[in-house]
Amino acid sequence: MRAMVVKEFRQLLRDKRTLGLLIGLPIVLLVVFGYAANFDVSKIPTVVVGPQAAEVAAQLHAPFEVTEIDPAGDRATVASQLQDGKAVVGVVTGQSPMPALMDGTQLFSVQAAKGAFARMAQADVADGVKPPAVTPEVLYNPDIKTSWIMIPGLTGLILLFIGTMTTSLGIVRERQAGTIEQLAVMPFRPWDVIFGKILPYLLLACLDLIAIVLLGMALFGVPFVGSVATFGIGALLFLLVTLGMGVLISTVSQNQGQAIQLAIMFVVPQILLSGLIFPVDAMAAGVRWIAYILPLTYFVDISRGVMLKAEPISALWDPFTVLLVMAIAVLGLAVLRFRRDLAPSTRHHSAEEPELKAVA
């Protein structure tokens, strides 16, 4: 047995990346996830509209953060702000009790807002001041069902797992089999190989996506109120990023083990940091910036917005643009990296002579 133990240690010590992962990853994960794991929303973007907008806004304290006061606005103004994701709570003044519209796709913010309104009512009673009577009204997800909020984002997580894991093996498998050198000598351009690797998986992932969205709707009654086309474009961009990331991982890995490790390192943080479970706004600042560079963060925005709120594409430019930039960056890097590996001599000291006649 001693021989086996020593051999395993030697092999482990040789693979620095695995070793680093075994020692470094638990520490990083604990710290990052520890700071991310926060259900307490400290800021709730709030709009106040109607004739008493200014007075009511003055009475709203933390966690409410009044982002807009619009005395000329009405219920429709609030609804549109909530739909576009510019605010989570909107108070419509000018009637009693005042309706406080809430974005039901923001589970923890809604809970925090309800709690805050209840505490305000009690505090004002204690002070002997007449409390502003507020009736919470939750839009898009009136029963605040967790499944409605989770399933749109979960579709993204599932695609992330399948997409990144499968494509991360694509090129490294050719490298280990040695066929990659043949591909390099065949009349392919680097992007022929990269996109040739991605397209079959993209097609399968699209079918997967349709199946899981339909299943989510059938099993959990999740609504799909928005535009299928908007959702489709968002999903396509997201898939290009995840599949491209898989291929990029594949081009920088020497063997399938390394590829899987890197894919796990890319996928796992997104479970907790993408806003799927913990709200991104509630995360510590440093960790929030990690959330902003993860593609799932943007797909969660798009899928929740479109499926539950019918958010129009005009309100989703930010996540669309970020995903597009990510897709271009990831695929571009994969092609460059692949070119560097495969065709090192195209620019140096080599001449290709299409007309060179064979001299046997």
């Binding site: 089999a177 040695g178 090192p344």
Partner: protein
């Protein structure tokens, strides 16, 4: 191209087809569409059938339709895999795999065929069949560059490059290389190893005398190609 393991044959072939960046010198080759290359380790997809492997090559080089059928049937026939067309690449024997790989490299009728140890680990019958394929391509005006560790195979080349430790130690036709052998070669039919540079050949010893004076008991012979290869390596070792 002949040399022992680690002599630099694969690297030189990879440089020739453009997989290695050259730090000096030039490599002249036809365009990618006119090169057929098999690395030492691979040559085909083990998780695709014989037919699907050929279909991939056909599509990659734009050989389709009737032309594809004619070429693939012809090649399958020639390598004796017509019956095995639906078998997975990984289920073929080592020899069959190499034959399929060579057939794939020849599929698009390349101007330059580069084969890295195509016959290593292949049984003698399959080796002969492989060489028939390669010779046929050469006869049809394809330039063939083959790396091998087998000296008898190197003898088939019109030009032979002997390599050792990353350097060319001799080059020329087999007869040139034999003619260039310095000193004298003898044979000693004795169980005891003679003095000086010598090596086993069957039940006797071959002995090389760089200064022409063979040891006592040695019978002078005309060097063979095998002798020439051995002596080139010894002579290079003495220089170094």
């Amino acid at each position: 191209m002949v040399g022992g393991d680690g002599a630099g044959k694969s690297t030189l072939l990879r440089a020739l087809v453009g997989l290695v960046r050259l730090s000096a010198g030039t490599a002249r080759r036809p365009g990618k569409r006119s090169i057929g290359y098999i690395p030492a380790t691979a040559g085909l997809y083990v998780d695709l059938t014989v037919e699907k492997n050929l279909a991939f090559i056909g599509r990659a080089y734009g050989v389709t339709g009737a032309e594809y059928v004619t070429r693939s049937e012809g090649l399958l026939e020639r390598i004796g895999l017509t019956q095995a067309r639906s078998r997975l690449g990984g289920q073929l024997s080592g020899g069959m795999q190499r034959k399929l790989a060579v057939a794939m490299a020849l599929f698009h009728d390349p101007e330059l065929l580069v084969l890295d140890e195509p016959t290593t680990g292949v049984d003698p019958v399959s080796r002969a069949e492989l060489w028939r394929l390669i010779a046929r391509a050469a006869a049809r005006d394809t330039a063939v560059v083959v790396a091998t560790t087998y000296v008898d195979e190197a003898n088939r080349g019109s030009t032979v490059l002997l390599m050792d430790q990353g350097r060319a130690i001799a080059t020329g036709s087999p007869s040139d290389i034999i003619a260039a052998v310095p000193g004298a070669v003898g044979v000693v039919r004795d169980a005891v190893r003679p003095r000086g540079p010598s090596w086993r050949s069957g039940s006797s010893w071959r002995v090389w005398a760089p200064s022409d004076s063979l040891p006592e008991g040695a019978e002078s012979v005309t060097p063979t190609f095998d002798d020439a290869v051995m002596i080139a390596a010894l002579a290079d070792g003495e220089k170094a």
